[in-house]
Structures are given as structure tokens and as C-alpha cells.
């Protein structure tokens, strides 16, 4: 209990009759980089606003540093928010913007000066103190917003898609910079994003949200390798979904019949025979070769229908039967790639294929 920086218990928020956040429970550890990931409208930003204190939850509890924060106004909470639009004060220069939080804490000018210098060098803005927000580039504005939120040393920093307005290259740079910064300062970061790659790169743990609910919480590799539901598998990365019927179950293995083709996959719960299930398999886990492999169990033949060259790798659409086409990604290690119309052998190590939990109705 002592370890958790932020805890949400059965948190719900409704706007009128419309539920936006539904029964969200999370425990976020001190110093953790925690992401709320989901498509727009999934309730992630609302959850963040509830944490910051801009909105009050309809039900449930919020604990910040172990104490109940429900009803506390934003200025009484030890959390700061970095806004998606930065929300820099247009009538104040960089110095005044960043010093705002310290002035509100009634610190003297001589106390503010060293703290300001420290944070500005941390975000590499030294020398721009007298500029006004509109005189700065997007990336610089973003760093001012970050400095303004960090300078008061909050125990939790909330970030609402802070890199959304930057171009791709700058975004990649800032992702690494943010991560480094978070490690260095050891502040809890709660990061809202709809960009799965961003969440995978930066987070210690991710909560995937859909329609106001948390669908899965886990480390990036858990979320990617063992998606709990079809939604998670579909939202994060590319996935082949194969529908079939259970033939036999030998925990943890499940044998599934897909239009006459038998495949084995990982599936923990005990499944009854002939039940309809969905198997998920990532395109890059599937191997592709011209010769029959003698050792593999999950091995099939197929016809290359389409291929898309992507530089580092190539994406193939391989037809196994009339209604079963799989996407396969292969790294372009040599030039002996496959051509359209080739007959190929393909397969995967059984643990890479996973029987998904049936989707719980919202």
C-alpha cells in the first residue's frame, strides 16, 4: 500500500446519461512510467482530468500518495498536468510561465532563480527566458509546458498526449528524452496516448482502455505478446485473427480446427470441445520458406497472393484455403524473397499463437 503513488478504486464518471469512465481500478507505483492507452473517446483523458481535479468522479475513489483526493481542488493536489495544447500563458514569457507554480507557493525571487535555472537546463531551454510562447517553435513550447509542470516537483506528473502536436522525428526524440527525464527525476508519470508505439517504447506498464473500461494492464511485452482480448490484440500492432472450433484441449495447449486445418495454440482456461474460438497470431511470428520443414508441428502450405515491400521487411498475404488468408511479415535479410504466386510453406512455434478470451460485453 505504501508503495503506490496513485490508486484508483472503482472510478466512474458520467456526463449526463453518458458513461465515460466505468469502474476503473488501478494501482500505480511510485516512480513508475504508466501509460493509459486507447482510441479517442475511450475515457483516458477524462481519467486524467479526474486525477488532476478538474472534474469530480461520479463514484469511486482516488488516492494520491495514500490519501483520499476526492473533492480536493486542483491547486491542493500534488499532481501537475502537461496539457495536450500546452496551455502556456500567452501574456507571460518563458520565465514567468515556468515560475508561475513557484510564485503560487509564495517562494521568494532568490529561491525561484536557482530552481528555474535548473529546470530550464534540464529541458534545454536556457537562454530563452524572455521569449513569449508565440515566439517559440512547437517543440520549444512543449518543453516550456514540461518545465512549468516539473519545477514545483510534484510527486505525480500527468501528461495528456504531450507529443501529439509534434512532427514524427521530433516526437521520437522527445519520447526518449521524456523517458530519460522520468528515470532521472524518479517522478511517477501517468501518460495518456492513443499511439501504441509511443506507449510500448516509453512505459513501464500500460493500461489499455476501451469504452471507459480498463481492458488489460501489463508490461509492454505482456500487452504485445499476450493480449487479453481481441480489442487489445487489434489495437496494438498487427494481428491475424483465425476463427475455428476446438478439437481437443490439453492445457496449456488447445487444438483448433480451422476449416479442416488443425492448429495448436496457447490457451489457459479449460475449453470445452467444439466451442468456437479466435486464435491471434502476430504476422512477424510466422515463418515462411520454400522447402518443407521436417521438424515443425504447426506447418501449412499456402499461396502468396500479394506482397508489399516496406524497406526493412516485406508484408505478404498468404492464402491457406478459400477463406483463410494470413498476413506475414518477413525481414528482408537477403534478396531471395518470395514472389507473387509462389507456393510456400509457413508455420509458427505453437506458443506464439494464442486463444483469446471471449470479449466481455460492455
Amino acid at each position: 500500500m505504501d508503495e503506490s503513488s496513485v490508486e484508483l478504486k472503482n472510478l466512474s464518471k458520467q456526463f449526463g446519461a453518458h458513461p465515460v469512465v466505468r469502474d476503473v481500478s488501478l494501482q500505480i507505483k511510485r516512480g513508475e512510467f504508466f501509460s493509459l492507452l486507447g482510441p479517442s473517446g475511450c475515457g483516458k483523458t477524462t481519467t486524467l482530468r479526474l486525477l488532476a481535479g478538474f472534474d469530480n468522479p461520479s463514484s469511486g475513489e482516488i488516492f494520491i500518495n495514500g490519501s483520499l483526493a476526492n473533492g480536493a481542488p486542483p491547486y491542493a493536489r500534488d499532481v501537475n498536468l502537461v496539457f495536450q495544447s500546452y496551455a502556456l500563458f500567452p501574456h507571460m514569457n518563458v520565465y514567468q510561465n515556468v515560475a508561475f507554480g513557484l510564485e503560487m507557493k509564495k517562494l521568494s525571487r532568490s529561491q525561484i532563480q536557482p530552481m528555474l535555472e535548473e529546470v530550464l537546463s534540464l529541458v534545454r531551454l536556457t537562454g530563452l527566458e524572455s521569449r513569449f510562447p508565440k515566439q517559440l517553435s512547437g517543440g520549444q513550447q512543449q518543453r516550456v509546458a514540461l518545465a512549468r509542470a516539473l519545477v514545483t516537483h510534484p510527486s505525480v506528473l500527468l501528461l495528456d498526449e504531450p507529443l501529439g502536436a509534434l512532427d514524427l522525428k521530433l516526437r521520437k526524440e522527445m519520447q526518449l528524452e521524456l523517458k530519460k527525464l522520468q528515470r532521472k527525476l524518479n517522478i511517477t508519470f501517468i501518460y495518456v496516448t492513443h499511439d501504441q508505439e509511443e506507449a510500448l517504447t516509453m512505459s513501464d506498464r500500460i493500461a489499455v482502455m476501451d469504452h471507459g473500461r480498463v481492458v488489460q494492464v501489463g508490461r509492454p511485452e505482456e500487452i504485445y505478446e499476450q493480449p487479453a482480448t481481441r480489442f487489445v490484440a487489434d489495437f496494438i500492432g498487427e494481428t491475424n485473427f483465425i476463427e475455428g472450433k476446438i478439437v481437443s484441449c490439453d492445457p496449456p495447449w488447445v487444438k483448433v480446427d480451422v476449416q479442416g486445418i488443425q492448429m495448436s495454440a496457447l490457451g489457459i482456461p479449460p475449453y470445452e470441445k467444439s466451442r468456437e474460438v479466435v486464435i491471434a497470431i502476430r504476422p512477424e511470428k510466422i515463418w515462411l520458406q520454400k522447402e518443407h520443414s521436417s521438424s515443425s508441428e504447426n506447418q501449412f502450405t499456402g499461396l502468396i497472393e500479394e506482397l508489399v515491400y516496406l524497406g526493412t521487411d516485406t508484408r505478404y498475404l498468404v492464402r491457406l484455403s478459400d477463406e483463410l488468408i494470413l498476413t506475414v511479415r518477413q525481414q528482408n535479410l537477403d534478396h531471395s524473397a518470395f514472389r507473387k504466386g509462389d507456393r510456400v510453406y509457413l508455420g509458427w512455434p505453437a506458443p506464439c499463437a494464442q486463444v483469446l478470451h471471449p470479449e466481455t460485453e460492455a
Partner: protein
């Protein structure tokens, strides 16, 4: 920059392709003359008024050479001085009250969602279109028969505050329309209370709107006649009422001088108000 220059060139090339017909060629000078007539119609009376305020002749419509005697006489007229003092008192107080109440109203309307908000907003704008005479009669009835106030400067101040609130609220509201509410959230997030947030963030960003509303309120109060006429009492003569009673005794060039000065003052205040409204916040 590039886009703008591009669009002007396309606009400029369009008429070349369209042949000017005979009808067009005949119509063009007619339109020009028409425009001239409109300007003469609108501004000639004012120009004549200003010109005769500098006439040495004691008769309004006879030119008697250039002089500023009427302006000198105007400044020595104690009745006019008293009326001017009353007018400035009424304008200042009604501006102050209307600005405070109107700004608070505009803030509440833009910040909160409450039942009947749209209805409230519509009724708030109503005094702008309600005929002055209706407003004058209703205020007279209300202040005298219901509130039992004696007619005088206080009743004029109340009446002017009433219609000025609408103007201030509308102008401040327009200013708030482009105001990013997240700035207030950011300030509160960084530890500012509601009160600190208003004075450090909201007010500095919307003050041109507030000041512009205040100036308009002052200007409207300065030359308000109809409503004032109903709620004025003994000893509470404002400048427009004074001019009216002077005109009843005959139009002298002194009135021309007074009207000219009022015109100049109004134009200056309204121009200032418009400039402030245009001033960008960011």
C-alpha cells in the same frame, strides 16, 4: 503570404475576361454619383453644424466670418457646466456598475452550464433592442411606484446601468469566446486558487474586452436622451436634456459648438473602444 498574393492576382485577372458591356459603362458613373449623394445626405448636416459653430454671426444659418467666440461663451456658461458635470457623474457611475455586473455576467455565462442558460442569455441581450421609450416608461414606473425613489441623479444612474449591462456583457462575452479555458485549469493545476487565477490569468487576457465595454457604456450614457428624459428630476439635468431645452428657446451657434464637442468626444471614445476590441490577446 504566398497564398495571399496568389489570390489577389486571380481576383485581379477575372474582370479582364468579362467584357464590359455598354450598360456597365453607363452605369458606372451613375453609381459613383449615387455614392456621393449618400455621403452628402448622411454627413452634410453634421458638416454644416460644425462649420456654423465657428461662425461669428449670432444667427445659426448666416455665415459671419470665422470665430471661436461661441466656444468661449460655452465654457463660461454655468448652466452647461452643471449639465456637463451631471453627465460625467452619471456616465462614470453607470459605466462602473455596468462594467462590474456585465463582466461578471459574461464570465458566468461562459464558464458555467446551468438550467435556463440560453434563455438568460437571450433576455440579457433584449435591452439592446427594446425601444428606448418603453425602457424609459418602465423604469420610471418601477423606480417611482415600486421602489419609491425620488427622481434625480441616482435614478438616472440606475437607468443607464440597466441598459449598459447588456452592452458590456455582449462585448466581454465576445472576448471570452476566444479565451482558452485550459489556461485557467493550468493555473489552478499549478497551485493558483480561483481568485488568483482570475487576477493573474483571466483578467490580463480579457481586459481589452472589459475596457472596450466600459468605454462604450460611457459613450452611450454620455448622449443618452430618451430614457434620461423619463427618469430625470429637478436639478439633475444632463447635457442632452440641457441641449434640448436650449433648442426650444432657439438654436444658437453656442449649441452648434456644444454639439460639435459632443460629437468629437463620442467619436474618440467609440474609436478607442473599437481599437481595444480588435487588439489580439495572443
Amino acid at each position: 503570404m504566398n497564398e495571399r498574393s496568389l489570390s489577389t492576382t486571380t481576383r485581379a485577372t477575372v474582370p479582364i475576361h468579362r467584357r464590359a458591356t455598354l450598360w456597365d459603362r453607363l452605369l458606372e458613373p451613375v453609381l459613383g454619383v449615387n455614392a456621393c449623394f449618400i455621403y452628402v445626405f448622411l454627413y452634410m448636416p453634421i458638416v454644416v453644424l460644425i462649420a456654423f459653430s465657428f461662425s461669428a454671426s449670432p444667427f445659426s444659418a448666416v455665415w459671419g466670418g470665422f470665430s471661436i467666440d461661441w466656444y468661449i461663451q460655452l465654457f463660461q456658461d454655468s448652466e452647461i457646466a452643471r449639465a456637463l458635470r451631471n453627465t460625467l457623474i452619471v456616465a462614470s457611475f453607470s459605466m462602473l456598475f455596468a462594467t462590474i455586473i456585465g463582466t461578471m455576467t459574461a464570465l458566468a455565462l461562459s464558464k458555467f452550464q446551468f438550467r435556463g442558460r440560453n434563455a438568460f442569455e437571450t433576455t440579457l441581450n433584449l435591452p439592446i433592442v427594446i425601444p428606448d421609450i418603453v425602457q424609459g416608461i418602465s423604469l420610471l414606473m418601477f423606480l417611482v411606484l415600486v421602489v419609491h425613489l425620488a427622481l434625480g441623479l441616482p435614478t438616472i444612474i440606475i437607468a443607464h446601468t440597466v441598459f449598459n449591462i447588456s452592452y458590456v456583457a455582449v462585448i466581454v462575452r465576445a472576448r471570452l469566446h476566444g479565451f482558452d479555458r485550459r489556461l485557467e485549469e493550468a493555473a489552478m493545476d499549478l497551485g493558483a486558487t480561483e481568485w488568483q487565477t482570475f487576477w493573474k490569468i483571466t483578467f490580463p487576457l480579457i481586459w481589452p474586452g472589459i475596457l472596450s465595454g466600459a468605454l462604450l457604456a460611457f459613450t452611450l450614457s454620455l448622449d443618452e436622451f430618451v430614457v434620461t428624459f423619463f427618469v430625470t428630476g429637478p436639478g439633475a439635468t444632463t447635457l442632452p436634456i440641457q441641449v434640448y431645452s436650449m433648442v426650444k428657446r432657439g438654436v444658437t451657434p453656442e449649441i452648434n459648438a456644444l454639439a460639435t464637442l459632443m460629437l468629437v468626444a463620442s467619436i474618440l471614445l467609440v474609436t478607442l473602444s473599437i481599437l481595444l476590441q480588435r487588439r489580439r490577446s495572443s
